[in-house]
Symmetry: C2
Subunit: 363 residues, 2 copies
């Protein structure tokens, strides 16, 4: 059996019994029930992932998948693809957005060349180049079905190895000029939504470039006619190596029962692919912020996700992940360290009274 | 001149020239302009506070103002005021919500008894008790004008001392059964909004209790008829010692040019009072999350604030502040550590090209 099939078949939902035990503990902390809002949900969901009520993060890692997209030929980006190469070489130095924020959150980066067009010279980048960029999806499929599977399996292998090394909180990042276009194409194809509804104006795009981007994506979807019921078909026809690789990261995290954070629109597209391959994977996913890119709204709605940060970020690279790590770890810290009513000597009867009062108070 | 008058007259706006220098530096970091969203704004605004482009936080402190409210006689809370006393004694032990999250963010707490009804036995609580709770605002003013000024000055004195001790990032918290009612009354009075628009259903309140709360607040505003143009009048007639004390914290932070975080609805009411006393104080304020309490929406709109976290928290105590500290410090870390285009050897011309491309890419 292939690694992909094996991975998908071995993924199970998170441990609902552990979530229940954690929720019970959280409800017994010295506060009105639910008053720590999503911190409580995060704490309980994390318990479901590990099977334990009390958790702490050991090592954090943000996996940055880098690759080029043939669609750039169509002028969906204003400039040269060389930037993918420049940034892929630069990201491991920890001085770009994701690197600086990762250092702040004590997280490491794993930068992967999964399909950059140019040669990557930084030895800190893991060389798993499948091809020198995808083909132009306006003229045919981005890659073969075999290569789509290989890209997903690359993500699985890399994340499996990191799990084996003890990393237990993951982020998903990317670098690849043109990948907001491929993300929009994937989301449009999988959710069967018209491209006009999905593509945003962008900051750098003129009215003409925007119209061109929509036209190009429509053409790509027409020509390739991906099957919305077949995720691999969609990924191979209108996707990219980066998105397929990130899909592999999400699958591996679920298989290994580790938490993984969704970041911007490209990460969202990969999360959607993963969810459609195996819905149970959602149990292992946490959100960070919500990109301003319109396509993200559809994914958040479809997967019933909500952002935890409100920062209008749109840098990509996985730069929202470290901030989400901090909130997740704050949630675990609360579960581990906050006093229970028992701790402060308040019994069941008085506890209910206290909760009533504090519920009123804290609104 | 009184401490309050002296403080207000010595507050100046933040350093706009430093904000401009910081913005220029931030625009030159290796990312599309604006792509780190509100992290960029936070970094620039912080520069305005200190007058320096590069900043790091030295010591964090969350000031928790604790006091009782006479309005509890009217049954706006379902139970006994004793909880204010219990929690005031308990908070310094760092095991309640704000304490645990403060420990996570390496922040200290300053817990102040500014008007708790009962005796506070924990020596870690600073005793600045003005009275044993306010009077019932349904029957007359909460406190005398002199005591309102005294409460504000208590907040100023305590924060001045902490500034002197080197604390440079503050949070505002509170404990006081009934203080969502007094907060709603203050916001209704100052913004001249009908109480029906402001008061939320709460979690613990039945339909009857909710109707009662609205009735009580309407009566309190009718009987006291506070002057919306006179913040001290509003604070003394329908406020509380906690809110007045927090207002003093905001004033002192602005005077001492330190950053201070607004938390829940009670903190919002105090921030609004401060802003109306001296609009320049807003330059020193940062938001955390946005409470679900309806009244908060009016303050956010009036002061043009936006939350940075999206966590549906409603615990109070200042518990949102430590999470906001983390985001603020991440923003400062970005300003201090991210590479500029110059650092990576990209000149003005190529920089514009890079920005164009990455703007497209990151949307």
């Amino acid at each position: 059996m292939s690694l992909l099939k094996e991975t998908i078949s071995s993924i199970t939902a998170s441990d609902k019994e552990a979530i229940e035990r954690a929720s019970k503990h959280i409800d017994n902390l010295t506060k009105p029930i639910g008053s720590l809002g999503r911190l409580e949900q995060i704490g309980a969901r994390y318990a479901g992932i590990t099977g334990k009520v009390f958790n702490r993060v050991n090592k954090r890692n943000i996996i940055v998948m880098c690759s080029d997209n043939g669609i750039c030929e169509e002028g969906v980006s204003a400039a040269d693809q060389i930037i993918t190469e420049v940034m892929t070489n630069g990201i491991p130095e920890m001085k770009t957005g994701v690197g600086v924020l990762a250092a702040f959150a004590n997280a490491e980066l794993t930068v992967v060349d999964i399909g950059v067009k140019g040669d990557i010279t930084n030895p800190k980048v893991i060389n798993r180049k499948i091809m020198r960029g995808t083909s132009n999806i306006c003229k045919g499929p981005a890659m073969s079905r075999e290569n789509a599977v290989r890209a997903i399996e690359t993500g699985i292998e890399i994340t499996d190895k990191l799990c084996h090394e003890g990393y237990d909180l993951f982020g998903t990042g990317e670098m690849g000029i043109g990948n907001t276009s491929t993300s929009a194409a994937i989301i449009a194809a999988l959710l069967e939504i018209d491209v006009d509804e999905l593509v945003g104006m962008g900051v750098g795009l003129t009215k003409e470039q925007f119209e061109n981007k929509k036209r190009v994506l429509k053409k790509a979807l027409e020509i390739n006619n991906p099957n919305p019921k077949d995720v691999i078909d969609v990924l191979s026809k209108v996707g990219g190596f980066d998105i397929a690789g990130m899909c592999g990261c999400f699958l591996s995290a679920a298989k290994n029962k580790r938490a993984i954070v969704i970041d911007g629109v490209i990460s969202c597209a990969a999360a959607l692919c993963t969810y459609m391959l195996k819905p149970e994977c959602k149990d292992y996913m946490f959100t960070s912020h919500k990109s301003d890119e319109k396509a993200v709204n559809y994914v958040f709605k479809y997967m019933e996700l909500e952002p935890i940060l409100h920062l209008n970020m749109r840098l990509g690279e996985g730069s929202g992940c470290p901030l989400a790590f901090n909130v997740i770890e704050a949630a675990l810290y609360v579960v581990n360290n906050m006093a229970t009513f028992g701790d402060i000597g308040i019994g069941e009867e008085s506890k209910d009274k206290l909760i009533d009062i504090r519920e009123e108070k804290t609104k």
